[in-house]
Symmetry: C2
Subunit: 343 residues, 2 copies
């Protein structure tokens, strides 16, 4: 039915004229303000439908100084890091939190200098109402940007050194404690850990959780090697651990990738998993189900992280002053299940 003139989009004035009211009344009706008589409100409603009117956002933004967009800035230095299912899930979470609102998601890969310059421009030119910052490593230049701007910023994960005013984080410490407790419950006693780079808050927090659990169990937490969250790094760390502590009977790896690397090395050394050595990972990535044996690990609510960050940011934009949030993790026990193709 719509003989929509494909080029000229209807304006508010046209709606007002058609409804036989003034432009300001039309505006009020459209924005659901109270001071409009039912009759005129209906007339406007109808005119909107008939004309297929949608307010021009640029004009509205100019008048209200509210853009209707939030940006997700991902600070990742090397290309590969973003190409990870993790971000897809974050984005999915954000997207579903935005679904019922009139906000739009702007994505900025701010790892490169150009990217962070772009983010800066976005802020200065008021192209967004707020920012979500993911994946900051210690001393990230974006952290400064965040402090200098008046635009609301919500952090995904705490950056090391300094609690930002607003953040949503996964309970990494609690998760690591859970993982380690699981090993303790399994009867293991000489438990080692492979940590991530301690310049990252995640790595730090997981290491703390490990020590928490070890202390509670009265075990010595000194079988420790540091790595970089990668599979290769995990393998190297496992090799070092075996050399330094040949008596170890379990390993908590602070990421599934590192755990996978460790599994390979353990097997190469003839240590059976989980009979000789227990292994627990962290993240519950796809890889945790591709190893043999499948990895017991800590699941993080990644999608929820995206959703909650968004909800928090919108609340702030709306004038609220919420408190930071910690999202619970959960243990996923996998054991000797045989994966489809690694029979």
């Amino acid at each position: 039915m719509d003989t929509a003139p494909s080029h000229r989009l209807p304006t508010l004035d046209e709606v007002a004229e058609r409804a036989g009211v003034s432009r300001s009344v039309a505006s009020r009706a459209i924005n659901n303000e109270i001071n409009v008589s039912p009759a005129k409100r209906d007339a406007v409603q109808r005119a909107v439908e008939e004309l297929g009117y949608v307010p021009n956002r640029s004009a509205r933004a100019l008048a209200t100084n509210r853009v209707g967009a939030v940006v997700l800035a991902v600070s990742t230095s090397h290309p590969g890091a973003f190409a990870d299912a993790f971000f897809a899930q974050i984005i999915y979470g954000i997207s579903s939190a935005l679904e019922r609102t009139d906000f739009t998601l702007t994505l900025v890969l701010a790892g490169s200098p150009e990217g962070s310059a772009k983010l800066k421009r976005i802020v200065r030119s008021r192209r967004a109402d707020g920012i979500m910052l993911m994946n900051l490593h210690g001393g990230d230049p974006l952290a400064k940007l965040a402090e200098q701007t008046a635009m609301p910023v919500v952090f995904g994960g705490r950056p090391l050194g300094g609690e930002p005013r607003w953040y949503v984080d996964v309970d990494n410490r609690g998760g690591a404690r859970l993982a380690t407790e699981h090993l303790v419950d399994g009867g293991y006693r000489r438990i080692a850990t492979i940590t991530g780079p301690l310049s990252l808050d995640v790595a730090e927090a997981r290491y703390c959780g490990f020590r928490d659990a070890m202390a509670v169990a009265g075990l010595s937490p000194d079988r420790v090697e540091h790595a970089d969250f990668t599979e290769a790094g995990g393998a190297a760390a496992m090799t070092r651990l075996l050399r330094a502590h040949p008596d170890l009977d379990a390993v908590f790896a602070a990421s599934d990738n590192m755990a996978a690397g460790a599994l390979g090395v353990l097997r190469a050394h003839g240590r059976a998993v989980p009979d000789d050595v227990g292994v627990v990972g962290f993240d519950d990535l796809r890889i945790a189900q591709l190893t043999y044996p499948q990895l017991t690990t800590i699941h993080q609510p990644v999608q929820a992280l995206g959703e909650e960050m968004t909800r928090m940011l919108l609340a702030i934009v709306d004038g609220a002053r919420p408190t930071p949030l910690l999202l619970p993790t959960r243990l996923v026990v996998r054991g000797r299940v045989i994966s489809t193709w690694c029979t």
Copy 2:
């Protein structure tokens, strides 16, 4: 009481005043137009620096009817599908193509009804200058939207049924031919294929490529099963193939996931790969390196796909009328390499 920035952002008038010129001269200087004297141009330049002026994009957008944003709309019905490294790479490509421009990327997950409604609103309210549409399945409602709007639309991959005016695609047909030829060259003769759902153009194209190669080799292309691109689907299809064509000596699976599923089934049936049965996949996903043996497969330039789509869209927004693009694929031969943990 309100969250307004502590210090007002500088406006063009302030720059003009500081530089001692009229607002229009300031505007021209800032936009690098020609008709400005060097002296005034410098003065404006300096004022901009000193004040840290960045044009307000909403105002500019309102005046020029150009927003400075492109949207990537991903049409995916079920949650999991977006959580894939594929999109991360696409986004990475887009992002790098956008890096040197003043355009911003808006991401819309348009699989759900709400999502596609949102996309529609974005178009109608002129919140973007152009759209990139990924992952359309036959009869996708977004295809209609694309036709109705005057906003430029670039497709990532051709939707089935009808060549859109502008698209960038991967040479799926050529890739499938490559894969099949590789099997032929390997001495296999009774080659089967597991296709994707033929309602997708990708699946159709890869199936065509298979038949191309079989025809050229003078082989019969009738060992065929259809699946859904998933691992489970691939496994089921492989089972059906073995029952229907127990003599088969090779399989071209139209995706790595399906190939992985097929590998498991082949092994369960005691068929050694690649000695008894040759297997080639498509996509070159991470999983191709996690199977045993690692998968020979067809690599797609995913990041380049994102880049070229963006470049094309920006060109169109700029008034150009480019021709569609096909990106080449390449064969990755893997064979018996032993992966780290599946010793």
